[in-house]
């Protein structure tokens, strides 16, 4: 066996014991005022959970400047009082002992590697470095990484800051690891990127197809929607390499081999065509491109599909029949089919079977991708993507440039050209092309694939600044860390999974030197001497500008007001403030459902329901291409990654919440008893996984709920517990999403416990 090809200069993640001692992660449990049942809260603030794109309504109970507990919002229509464990315990992240209360600067003399810095001095220093780097190496030498857990106001401001203040092309966001395949697929097929239906449509559907989404753990509230549909007799089909809790009692389970989703859906479409389970009328009137697609999928006979996907032929036939003959249906997918080097094709292949069935744009029938992050939807709309301007506009489109430049009071030519994606930013940093980086709401050291490379890239930066509320694994590489705000310390809006814009309300003040992220960004603009356009006094003011910026764009927020959001429990975009004569005004609640037969949109202008000039949806030819790295003799097992219900993304927050850590303390590798038996691994054994990029040793969890050719490790941990040491940085050609869901590894029983086992607490 070849040993992993780790470049000699790649730093092996250290145990960072001193940094951990000072900054955690440590676990917080409810104590003192939080367990004193005699304490009456000063106020209860209506807001939303900060984790995951479903954005359940909750109320935070506040005493002084501490959140002492939560109460679900029984009246919020999406969750009606339901919450997952993260929502129940999210309050423990506030008033946390690990909270950053001041700015920090790297200091090799300090044991933890950092010393405190007065806030003003920190801002000065960051501005000077930006100035220096941009003067010496051009504006693009300084890059910005942002995130989709920020409020939409902040994401707008980040885009504006990069494009207008820094004039750098290089801004991208962590949705690059999350929503972009779905986004690109939706744009290609529908011309717009939003869940086509509100979740209430799931309740009325006959067939629910869930592809690559561990709904029970990653979008728990959606479970009830699916179960309620089943109460009415709906059939549930689950496509996943693991028997997820939803799959256990699903009506049909297709244990697809990771990376073969396009083949599966092509095969299903072929069966639909063969059996004429098509809506010819819909195809003819509302779509283009079916013939080409039909030619392409002809080769996908059930036998071949079964062979490639690893799913029993009879199950594929049954799936096609259930789907093909349904009266109404709802298809949803998530990262399981999107995190691939051909993620956009996977997405398009599912959209193809939706369009072929004609079941979209009506009550009880539809399609959606399940957003992952808190603002996974809103965060991808208003200009923090490398090629994007607010309102879902394009940085490469002259008209769009002109509109935004006008609003921002600058020449269109002064706007930078489209930049590169988040991973490419790392590559450019590694290559020395990008020399400075500002990162907010992003923990690439944990969340990017092949993160040994990411570490090396960060080490090469001349200057790296992060805005963080806890010292994340990434911030430990920063030269300056600025203390930002938690979700509950600021207000604004986010757009949740259904495309519903909702209000985040401020419950407590930022502690110590910490302040709202938008203030920090504006302080930087001021220190740079370019404060024009960065003098907002509140998120509300940013939102007002955002409304104008999005006006006329696809993601049109111009008719949305904070008041209407409160009044209607959210507003669905598009919600234009005005429509052309003869077109009924959009209701105050916005557009619940997209693509309704007679709907109007600014692209089609009445030609049809879809967002193309002809109003028609596009079938896309989706040839099957295997994963970038397939198994071979040296690395014979497929590694796939994902989440557990108690943790959120890189765990910077949830690994600090004690009861959630207890729930699933440390990463484990799931493997099938057959595989385990062959490798001589027993449940609980320390097991080493090696890929061409790195090594990981974790305990084995021997369960027969996973394909025998695949192993699974959740990705929420950092350092030596991070499975992203192994994953591959191969990216989708269109969306640039990395292939988190497939790479080849070699699995052996470890000689003994890894070094971290005795030195670190489980969450560290």
């Amino acid at each position: 066996m070849k040993s992993p090809e780790v470049a000699a200069d790649v730093p092996v993640p250290g145990l960072d014991l001193d940094a951990i001692r000072e900054f955690g992660p440590f676990r917080a449990y409810a104590q003192d005022v939080r367990v004193d049942s005699g304490v009456i809260p000063d106020k209860q603030v209506k807001t939303h959970c900060c984790f995951c794109g479903q954005q359940c309504g909750i109320e935070l109970k506040v005493k002084g400047n501490t959140i002492i507990g939560i109460e679900p919002r029984y009246d919020f229509p999406f969750n009606r009082g339901m919450l997952c464990p993260k929502g129940v315990k999210r309050y423990l992240q506030q008033a946390h002992p690990d909270r950053l209360l001041s700015a920090y600067a790297k200091d090799s003399n300090a044991p933890s590697g950092f010393r405190r810095l007065p806030y003003e001095e920190a801002i000065r220093r960051v501005a000077d470095e930006i100035q220096r780097i941009q003067t010496a190496h051009g504006p693009n030498a300084f890059a910005v990484l942002s995130g989709a857990s920020l409020t939409t106001e902040k994401t707008y401001l980040m885009g504006k800051f990069a494009h207008m203040c820094l004039r750098t092309s290089n801004i991208d966001y962590n949705g690059r690891l999350c929503m972009v395949s779905a986004g690109a697929g939706n744009k290609k097929a529908f011309g717009v990127d939003r869940a086509a239906n509100p979740w209430s449509d799931i309740l009325e559907t006959d067939v629910v197809l869930v592809a690559g989404a561990n709904v029970a753990e990653c979008a728990p509230i959606t479970t009830n929607y699916i179960w309620q549909a089943r109460e009415r007799g709906a059939k549930v089909i689950v496509v996943d390499p693991r028997i997820t809790p939803l799959a256990r009692t699903a009506d049909l389970f297709l244990p697809v081999k990771p990376g073969r989703d396009t083949a599966l859906f092509n095969g299903i479409l072929q069966l639909m065509i063969e059996n004429d389970w098509l809506d010819h009328d819909f195809i003819a009137r509302h779509t283009v491109g079916f013939e080409a697609l039909a030619r392409e999928v002809r080769a996908w006979t059930p036998q071949r599909t079964a062979e490639v996907t690893g799913v029993a032929e009879r199950s594929i036939r049954r799936a096609a029949e259930l789907w093909g003959t349904a009266k109404s249906s709802f298809l949803m997918h998530a990262r399981g089919i999107e995190h691939h080097s051909h993620g956009v094709h996977n997405v398009l292949s599912t959209i193809n079977i939706v369009l072929a069935s004609g079941r979209i744009g009506r009550r009880g029938s539809g399609y959606a991708t399940i957003t992952g992050q808190a603002n996974g939807q809103g965060g991808r709309e208003h200009g923090q993507k490398c090629d994007q301007l607010p309102g879902g506009r394009e940085l490469a489109n002259p008209e769009h440039r002109a509109y935004i430049a006008g609003l921002w009071n600058m020449e269109p030519d002064e706007l930078p050209q489209p930049g590169v994606d988040a991973y490419e930013i790392m590559r450019k940093a590694h290559a020395g092309e990008i020399r400075g980086l500002l990162s907010i709401c992003f923990n690439p050291v944990v969340s990017l694939p092949d993160n040994n490379f990411v570490r090396a890239a960060l080490e090469k930066l001349e200057f790296f600044v992060t805005i963080d509320f806890f010292m994340s694994e990434t911030s430990r590489y920063a030269d300056v860390v600025l203390p930002g705000s938690l979700q509950e310390e600021d207000e604004g809006t986010v757009t949740q999974v259904e495309g519903r814009i909702i209000r985040i309300n401020k419950a407590v003040e930022c502690p110590g030197d910490a302040r709202e992220d938008w203030r920090i960004i504006q302080d930087l603009a001021r220190a740079l001497g370019r404060e024009r356009g960065f003098t907002f006094q509140s998120p509300g003011e940013i939102f007002e500008e955002l409304r104008v910026a999005s006006k006329g764009g696809i993601c049109d927020y111009s008719g949305v007001t904070y008041e209407n959001i409160e009044k209607h429990d959210g507003v669905f975009w598009p919600c234009p403030s005005e429509t052309p004569a003869g077109i009924p005004a959009t209701s105050a609640q916005g557009t619940l459902r997209l693509f309704e037969p007679d709907s109007w949109n600014p692209i089609a202008r009445g030609a049809g329901p879809f967002y193309f000039p002809d109003g028609k949806a596009r079938f896309n030819v989706t040839p099957y291409v295997g994963p970038a790295e397939d198994v071979d003799a040296d690395y014979p097992v497929i590694l796939t990654t994902g989440r557990v219900v108690s943790q959120f993304l890189s765990g910077n927050q949830t690994r600090r919440i004690g009861p959630l850590v207890d729930h699933y303390p440390e990463p484990r590798v799931e493997l099938h008893p057959k595989l385990a038996a062959r490798l001589g691994i027993a449940h609980g054994d320390w097991t080493t996984l090696r890929s061409r990029r790195g090594t990981l040793t974790v305990r084995a969890s021997v369960v027969s709920t996973i394909r025998p050719d695949t192993v699974f490790v959740p990705y929420h941990w950092g350092g030596r517990k991070s499975v992203n040491q192994l994953t591959i940085s191969a990216q989708d050609a269109i969306s640039k999403i990395p292939e988190f869901k497939v790479c080849a590894v070699n699995v052996v029983k470890a000689d003994g416990p890894p070094e971290y086992a005795t030195q670190l607490e489980p969450q560290q």
């Binding site: 049942s37 005699g38 009692t249 699903a250 009506d251 049909l252 207890d662 729930h663």
Partner: protein, 383 residues
């Protein structure tokens, strides 16, 4: 009248008679008996009857009877007596005298309980002997500056009437009422303040005893105030009031919350029973095969359940009696039974049998406060 009632009445009469006899003896045929206290005496005699009756009734419940017997057996177990005596002292000191387990439930609650408990104990220790005529104070004949304490008719010790000993002794009840009042205040505060406590409390069960204690202490203090500073103003009325509250408390004793004072020591028996259980065989669950609890405890419970009329026998099953199934397997069986009913409506099928015995269910979250609440739980739920 059932046998238990007859027996309980018998015991109650006997113990009450015994007390009466002691009063006669201790007060030298009522020679030292303070006639003003006769109402108090009667209320205590009544309480004694009531308490004994209730205690005997309580002991005749099958589970209590069994624990009573087993507790003593365990305590007197050959070869362990010395160790048992030692741990008896430790447990009495820590749990009974120092309220360790209550302090662990909540520090403030522990303090509350300590205050009330020691206040009452002090008061009882002073008043009962006085009321029964077992103890009385009087001037030393011929020496007006000296006082003497007479116990059961014998002079116990003497002290000058203006000494601090005298001050402490004569104001003993004042100190006691301070402790009790502080405790009652804390308890009231908690009951008013905490939503949780507020929801489950009942007036008779939870407030009544506090009110009674409060009334006794306050009227007692008023008495002291009256004769110390107010030249006996309203003394007769206050003493009547005080008498009423005290008598009320005693009469209430066998019925209300105060009964726990007599019940609680059973905890000691339980701890010895558990010690004995640990020495013996383990029970093995007849579903998953893992050890849980002690075999003795399971056998005892089977006997108790039979006496109570439960029919947990499972005819024709290898388990024989449901008590041989551990708590996690009970939960699993319950959920599996429900799940199986849905087998044709929802997806999934019964998995093929590969385990013999059945797999052991595992707590989903073994973390603090989420899974087992202590080592004992962990044992029963075999981690």
């Amino acid at each position: 009248m059932t046998r238990e009632v007859t027996r309980a009445l018998g015991w109650a009469s006997a113990v009450t008679a015994g007390l009466a006899l002691l009063i006669l003896l201790g007060s030298r045929k009522l020679e030292h008996f303070d006639a003003a206290l006769v109402a108090y005496t009667f209320s205590i005699v009544f309480a004694t009857f009531g308490l004994t009756y209730r205690y005997t009734m309580w002991l005749s419940r099958p589970p209590t009877a069994l624990y009573w017997r087993r507790g003593w057996q365990a305590f007197l177990l050959g070869g362990h007596r010395l160790r048992n005596a030692r741990s008896w002292f430790a447990r009495v000191t820590l749990d009974v005298l120092l309220n360790r387990f209550i302090l662990r439930r909540d520090r403030l609650r522990g303090l509350t309980h300590l205050l009330i408990m020691w206040g009452c104990t002090l008061a009882v220790a002073i008043t009962f002997p006085l009321v029964f005529g077992w103890l009385h104070f009087g001037p030393v004949p011929g020496n007006l500056s000296m006082y003497q304490a007479v116990v059961f008719g014998f002079v116990a010790f003497r002290f000058p009437h203006d000494s601090w000993v005298a001050f402490l002794l004569f104001h003993g009840l004042v100190w006691a009422s301070f402790l009790v009042i502080a405790g009652v205040m804390l308890a009231m505060r908690r009951r008013m303040r905490e939503e949780g406590a507020g929801a489950v409390q009942r007036f008779a069960e939870d407030f009544m005893p506090l009110l009674l204690l409060f009334a006794v202490s306050v009227t007692g203090l008023m008495l002291t105030a009256s004769y110390t500073w107010m030249r006996g103003y309203g003394f007769t009325f206050i003493s009547l009031l005080h008498a009423c509250t005290v008598i009320g408390t005693f009469v209430w004793l066998p019925f209300g919350k105060f009964f726990h004072v007599f019940q609680r020591p059973a905890q000691l028996g339980v701890s010895f029973y558990k010690d004995m259980g640990r020495l013996g065989d383990k029970a093995h669950c007849r579903r998953c095969g893992h050890a849980f609890s002690s075999r003795m405890h399971v056998l005892d419970l089977i006997a108790v359940e039979r006496q109570l009329g439960f029919k947990y026998e499972i005819p024709g099953s290898p388990a024989e009696h449901y008590q041989w199934v551990c708590p996690p397997c009970r939960r699993a069986s319950f959920a599996v039974a429900q799940g199986l009913l849905w087998r044709d409506q929802r997806g999934g099928a019964p998995l093929s049998q590969t385990h013999e015995p059945q797999a052991m269910p595992a707590q989903a979250n073994p973390g603090l406060g989420s899974g087992p609440l202590g080592p004992e739980d962990a044992e029963n739920f075999h981690p």
